[in-house]
């Protein structure tokens, strides 16, 4: 609950600091700051999606950025169509890159993306479908553990190579950029940015609440049971594969929505979003925040990305070393991440409070 409250405070405070506080004040939040916070929230959703399957069900996906990127591409296709005749080449139907690559007509899968509703549907459907097909084959063949991780890594790598190709129809290595507006609202205006941030905050809150509902239900306890003793769960009669598949598909959808919200805020999507390192970074966020706690994953995503923003600015070459060192240190000293540390600290203080209380209550007896 306190997590949703914090999120609500951020979602209300940022527009106020940006819109109502004058630009001269030290408390003014720049457009850059708004975008940054929005971006962190998208990463938070990706971390949440990953934590749901890794932290709770023990399925380590090293390719979760693929779902994020697919959702992003679906949004990008809509934004490209929305540009219309305002592109460099002024073609009312074909996006600039297609004119440049000598496309004569729109590829079949681009039809309908001028409607926001269709795009919205695809942002959910495409990641869901990939998760369903991939998960169905993987779980049915009982691929688990490190083998599963490796094929998810291969999946996102294969998608990256495919999206790099110009004749895929997704703009090759340049991807999509130069977006103008979304639903008629100028993407470069602070007002639109603020609304996008609030929508992202709402989406993050919604996915957090949905994940919480799952992990707190009996289904959530079955999922924990699968993580701890898979064959035992099967012997209790639970269809383990189907539980994993549902969870994986749901997780893919959350990651897809996160990617869709990410693209209009950062203004670009290209195949490097599929790069394996992105998925691995997401795993580090969850590990740092504390897997198996929903808020931990989000906190981890925000903190690690804040560090990344700072370090890539201050010491551009040091970031990857810092990330590696962070992962090693967390694994060694905080095996349950920040959330685990907080929990231990809470227990510790609770115990010392209880000890103090019993010491006080014991005194009169002594007398």
């Amino acid at each position: 609950m306190w997590f949703l409250a914090t999120l609500a405070v951020v979602a209300i405070a940022t527009p106020v600091l940006n819109q109502l506080v004058p630009a001269s004040s030290v408390f003014h939040l720049s457009a850059f700051g708004i975008t940054l916070i929005g971006k962190y929230m998208c990463y938070g959703m990706l971390a949440l999606a990953l934590d749901l399957i890794w932290g709770y069900c023990g399925i380590l996906s090293l390719g979760h950025a693929a779902f994020f990127a697919l959702g992003g591409y679906a949004m990008g296709m809509y934004l490209m169509r929305e540009i219309g005749p305002r592109g460099v080449y002024g073609n009312p139907i074909l996006p600039d890159f297609m004119v440049f690559l000598n496309y004569k007509s729109l590829p079949w899968f681009w039809h309908g993306f001028n409607h926001f509703g269709v795009a919205l549907l695809m942002m959910v459907l495409v990641p869901a479908l990939l998760a369903l097909v991939f998960g169905w084959f993987a779980f049915r063949s009982r691929v688990t553990g490190v083998y599963f991780s490796i094929i998810t890594q291969a999946l996102t790598y294969a998608l990256m190579l495919a999206f790099f190709r110009n004749d895929m129809g997704f703009g090759g290595n340049n991807g999509f950029t130069d977006f103008k507006d979304i639903l008629g609202f100028d993407l470069h205006s602070d007002r639109t940015r603020v609304v996008l941030l609030m929508v992202t905050a709402a989406a993050l809150a919604g996915s957090y609440a949905a994940c919480r509902a799952i992990v707190r239900s009996r289904a959530g306890r079955v999922v924990l049971a699968i993580r701890d003793a898979e064959s035992r769960t099967r012997f209790l009669g639970y269809p383990v594969e189907s539980f994993k598949l549902w969870l994986f598909v749901f997780s893919g959808i959350v990651a897809g929505i996160a990617g869709a919200l990410y693209v209009p805020q950062v203004g670009i999507i290209n195949p490097s979003e599929f790069s394996p390192i992105n998925s691995i970074e997401a795993v580090v966020w969850v590990a740092v925040g504390g897997r198996g706690t929903l808020y931990g994953a989000i906190v981890g995503a925000v903190l690690v990305n804040y560090a990344k923003t700072y370090l890539t600015g201050a010491f551009p070459d040091a970031w990857l070393y810092a990330l590696g060192a962070l992962f090693v240190l967390v694994t060694l000293f905080l095996p349950h991440g920040i959330a685990g540390f907080v929990l231990r600290w809470k227990k510790h203080t609770a115990r010392s409070v209880a000890a103090a209380a019993s010491a006080v209550s014991a005194e009169p007896v002594k007398k």
């Binding site: 009996r218 079955v222 993580r227 099967r234 209790l236 009669g237 639970y238 269809p239």
Partner: protein, 248 residues
Amino acid sequence: MKIRDKKLQLENLTVSFDGFKALNNLTLHVDPGELLCIIGPNGAGKTTMMDVITGKTRPDSGRVSFGSAIDLLRLSEPQIVSAGIGRKFQKPTVFEQLTVFENLELALAGTRSFLKTMRARIMPKQLDRIYEVLDIIGLTQQRDAFGRVLAHGQKQWLEIGMLLMQNPELLLVDEPVAGMTPHEIERTAELLLSLAGEHSVVVVEHDMAFVRSIARRVTVLHEGSVIAEGDMDKVQNDPRVIEVYLGV
């Protein structure tokens, strides 16, 4: 006796792994409500037999029928569970990160699909059943303790409790007293005896004193086949049994 009167009937089962015959033309039966003990030296095929009954291993040949009409070899593992066969493993595997109560909740007979368990609530009747089972296995006090903090014996009882939640007609219990203290063994014997009658119980065990204390009928396996059957005294005096197993 006709097949119809048996709870479980194994006929001419053969299972081989790379030429090694783990089960060799095995035939045995379990009567309704009886407590059958199966003993035999290591490698006699006891665990393989359990694996075949629960659908984990498919036999090369033979038949396994449950009750009057069910052919177990045609069912999948979860289907066999819902047909009414519960198995307790050699190593106690309870869910360590869940409480005793939650362990029993998951074992509750009934809904198993993801979407239904999302909305599942414990009905008053089911709650009564959970408390009843907590009482039977003697873990009422540990209701909210996590599985990981239980003592070895308590884990075994919890696992038996989880089997009871599914209300199985047939309980397969693999080495229930391995590693238990004498007091725990005594409690386990009482527990298993109290379950027979309402359920058919098959116990696989090494501990002779324990088998003697609970068994009415004993079946001795050796190299994948039955070599002796009967009450404990008869079995213990059987020359073949003495030779392969008790001959110490």
